[in-house]
C-alpha cells in the first residue's frame, strides 16, 4: 500500500463526502444536524432542509420515523440519538423522504469526535433490496400456496376414493345380495331403484375424486392421467381431444408432473370455453433435453395485443406462474381466426432424471 499524506487523505475524504451515494449526516449531542452531504440533502424533504438552514429546527427527529428493533418495525423507544453507547453499528431506519414517502434505509451510527460529541449517521437506500426480497418472498409464498392446494386436493381426493367410495361400494354389494333373497316384488322394485341411485352416486364420487386430483397422476404418471382426463372431458363436454405422447421416461419429478398436468388442464378448458371448437390437439414429447407440451386448437383465437379477458384473466397468469415454479417456459400464440397454441417447455435437469430413476 502506498503511504498517503494527511493532505491527500483529507482531500479523498472530502471527495467521498461530496460524491458518495451514501447519505452522511453529522449530528451533535442534542440530536441536531451540524452537517450533511449532498446525497443526504437530496433525500430529505425540502421543508425540513429549509428549516434546518434557517436554524428554526435542526433536529434529526423531524425526518426520522423510527428504526426497527426486536419488537417493532418502526420503533422510537430507546432512540439511537439518545443512546450513543448502544450498539448502532448496523440497523434499519425509516425516513420521511422527498416525494417518496417513508423509505427504509440501512444505517450505521457512531461517535467520531468524543470531545465535541459529534457522531456520524450513514444511510444506504434499501428500497431496491427490499423489493427484491419481497419478490422472492412472494414467489416462495406462491410456491407454498400451490403446493398446499395440491396436497389438500390430494388428501381429499384419496379420502373420497379410498374410504367414501369403498364404503359405498360395499353397501351396493350388500344391496345386490338382498335382491337374491326372497323379497316381494314391490320391495324388489324399490331395491332396483336404490341400486340405480347408489351406482350413480358412486360414479359421481369417483368423478369428484379424479377432478380434485387424479390418483393416476401419482400412481401411473402423466400419460395415464391425461388419457383418463381427456376421456372424461369428452364425456362431459363432448370435446374431442387428440392426444399423442412420445415420452422416453414414463415418470418425472412429481412437481413437474403436477405443473404439466395443471397447465394442460387449464389450456384444454380454455379451448373448450372460448375457442368455439369441438376438437383440441395435445402433444406431449421430449425434445432437446426438455419436456414439451403443446395444446393446439383451430378455433376462434384472439388478439394477443388487445387482451380483454373473457373470463377472470387468472387462468393465463396461473399457467405462467406454475411454469416458473419448475423453471419452465410458457408460450402462447394466437390470432383471431387462426386458433390458439399453448406451449410449455420444462428443462429436464439431472435432478429430475434421477428422481425418475429412483421411482
Amino acid at each position: 500500500m502506498i503511504q498517503m499524506t494527511d493532505e491527500h487523505l483529507s482531500e479523498l475524504l472530502r471527495k467521498m463526502y461530496v460524491n458518495s451515494m451514501e447519505a452522511i449526516f453529522f449530528i451533535d449531542e442534542k440530536g441536531s444536524v451540524v452537517a450533511m452531504n449532498p446525497a443526504a440533502e437530496s433525500i430529505l424533504d425540502i421543508e425540513v432542509i429549509e428549516r434546518m438552514h434557517a436554524g428554526v429546527d435542526d433536529s434529526f427527529c423531524q425526518t426520522c420515523k423510527g428504526y426497527t428493533d426486536e419488537k417493532d418495525q418502526m420503533a422510537c423507544s430507546k432512540c439511537y440519538l439518545d443512546y450513543p453507547k448502544g450498539d448502532f453499528s448496523s440497523f434499519q431506519v425509516y425516513l420521511k423522504t422527498r416525494g417518496e414517502g417513508v423509505v427504509p434505509y440501512a444505517a450505521s451510527y457512531h461517535t467520531i469526535d468524543e470531545d465535541r460529541g459529534i457522531r456520524v449517521l450513514m444511510l444506504l437506500d434499501l428500497t431496491k433490496q427490499q423489493k427484491t426480497q419481497e419478490m422472492l418472498q412472494r414467489s416462495n409464498l406462491l410456491k407454498y400456496v400451490i403446493k398446499a392446494q395440491e396436497d389438500e386436493r390430494k388428501r381429499i381426493s384419496r379420502e373420497l376414493h379410498d374410504s367414501v367410495a369403498q364404503e359405498l361400494l360395499s353397501s351396493l354389494v350388500d344391496l345386490r345380495v338382498v335382491k337374491y333373497m326372497n323379497v316381494e316384488e314391490d320391495v324388489m322394485r324399490k331395491l332396483q331403484q336404490t341400486e340405480v341411485s347408489l351406482t350413480r352416486l358412486l360414479d359421481d364420487i369417483r368423478h369428484l375424486s379424479v377432478e380434485l386430483r387424479p390418483s393416476s397422476l401419482d400412481d401411473l404418471g402423466l400419460e395415464a392421467a391425461f388419457r383418463s382426463h381427456f376421456k372424461w372431458i369428452g364425456k362431459n363436454y363432448g370435446l374431442l381431444v387428440n392426444f399423442s405422447a412420445e415420452l422416453s421416461a414414463a415418470r418425472y419429478g412429481s412437481e413437474i408432473e403436477t405443473v404439466v398436468y395443471r397447465v394442460c388442464q387449464e389450456a384444454v378448458l380454455n379451448a373448450l370455453k372460448y375457442a368455439g371448437t369441438d376438437e383440441v390437439h395435445v402433444r406431449l414429447c421430449e425434445e432437446n433435453g426438455s419436456l414439451q407440451l403443446t395444446v393446439k386448437d383451430d378455433g376462434a383465437g384472439f388478439n394477443m395485443n388487445y387482451s380483454e379477458a373473457k373470463g377472470t384473466g387468472l387462468g393465463l397468469y396461473g399457467m405462467r406462474e406454475r411454469a416458473e415454479l419448475v423453471d419452465g417456459q410458457f408460450m402462447l400464440n394466437s390470432a383471431p381466426g387462426e386458433g390458439t397454441t399453448v406451449e410449455l417447455r420444462i428443462p429436464l435437469s439431472q435432478d429430475n432424471k434421477r428422481e425418475a430413476d429412483v421411482r
Binding site: R200, D203, G238, D278, G311
Partner: protein
C-alpha cells in the same frame, strides 16, 4: 315393465319437431346396468353434428341434469341473457347445437325420472312461457313408455 310395446322414439321426436316447428329435439334416457345407469342423449332430431352422442350427463349438471334431478320442467327463454357466457361451457348441448331458446321436461316412470325431453330453437326468445305451456299441453300425459307427469305414489 313387462310386455312393453316397442316405441320408435326417433319417429316420435321427428314428429314433435314437425308439429311444433322446433329447430332441435332430443331425448336422454337412463342406460341399463351394463352402462352403469348413466344418462345419455339417445335420440336427436334436427341436430347439426353428432357431438351430442359423446356427452354423458350428470345429475344436477346442465339442462338435462337439472331437470333429471328436480323432476321439474325447465325453460331458458334466451340463452344469451339467461346464462352467463363464462358458464356456457357447462351446458354442452346448448353449445354443440347452438341453441338460443329451449325447454326441457322430465320423463317419468312411476316415481322416478327416467329420461329428459329437450326442445329448442336456434333463435332467441322463440320459446317462451306461453309456447312452452302449449307444447307441454300438446305432449299430453304419455310419451312412449313414459309419463310426462309424475304419477303420485299409491
Amino acid at each position: 315393465m313387462m310386455n312393453q310395446p316397442i316405441f320408435h322414439y326417433q319417429e316420435e321426436i321427428d314428429g314433435l319437431r314437425d308439429r311444433f316447428q322446433f329447430d332441435f329435439v332430443s331425448m336422454a334416457l337412463v342406460q341399463p346396468a351394463e352402462d352403469r345407469f348413466v344418462l345419455t342423449w339417445q335420440f336427436a332430431s334436427g341436430n347439426i353434428n353428432d357431438r351430442y352422442k359423446r356427452i354423458v350427463l350428470h345429475s344436477g349438471k346442465g339442462i338435462a341434469g337439472i331437470v333429471f334431478k328436480t323432476g321439474k320442467p325447465m325453460l331458458i327463454q334466451n340463452v344469451n341473457t339467461d346464462i352467463e357466457s363464462r358458464d356456457l361451457f357447462n351446458y354442452p348441448i346448448i353449445v354443440a347445437e347452438q341453441l338460443k331458446s329451449l325447454g326441457a321436461v322430465p320423463l317419468w316412470d312411476g316415481t322416478r325420472v327416467m329420461g329428459v325431453l329437450l326442445v329448442g330453437y336456434r333463435a332467441e326468445n322463440r320459446l317462451n312461457k306461453a309456447s312452452f305451456d302449449i307444447f307441454q299441453e300438446g305432449l299430453g300425459t304419455a310419451f312412449g313408455a313414459f309419463c310426462a307427469k309424475e304419477v303420485s305414489q299409491p
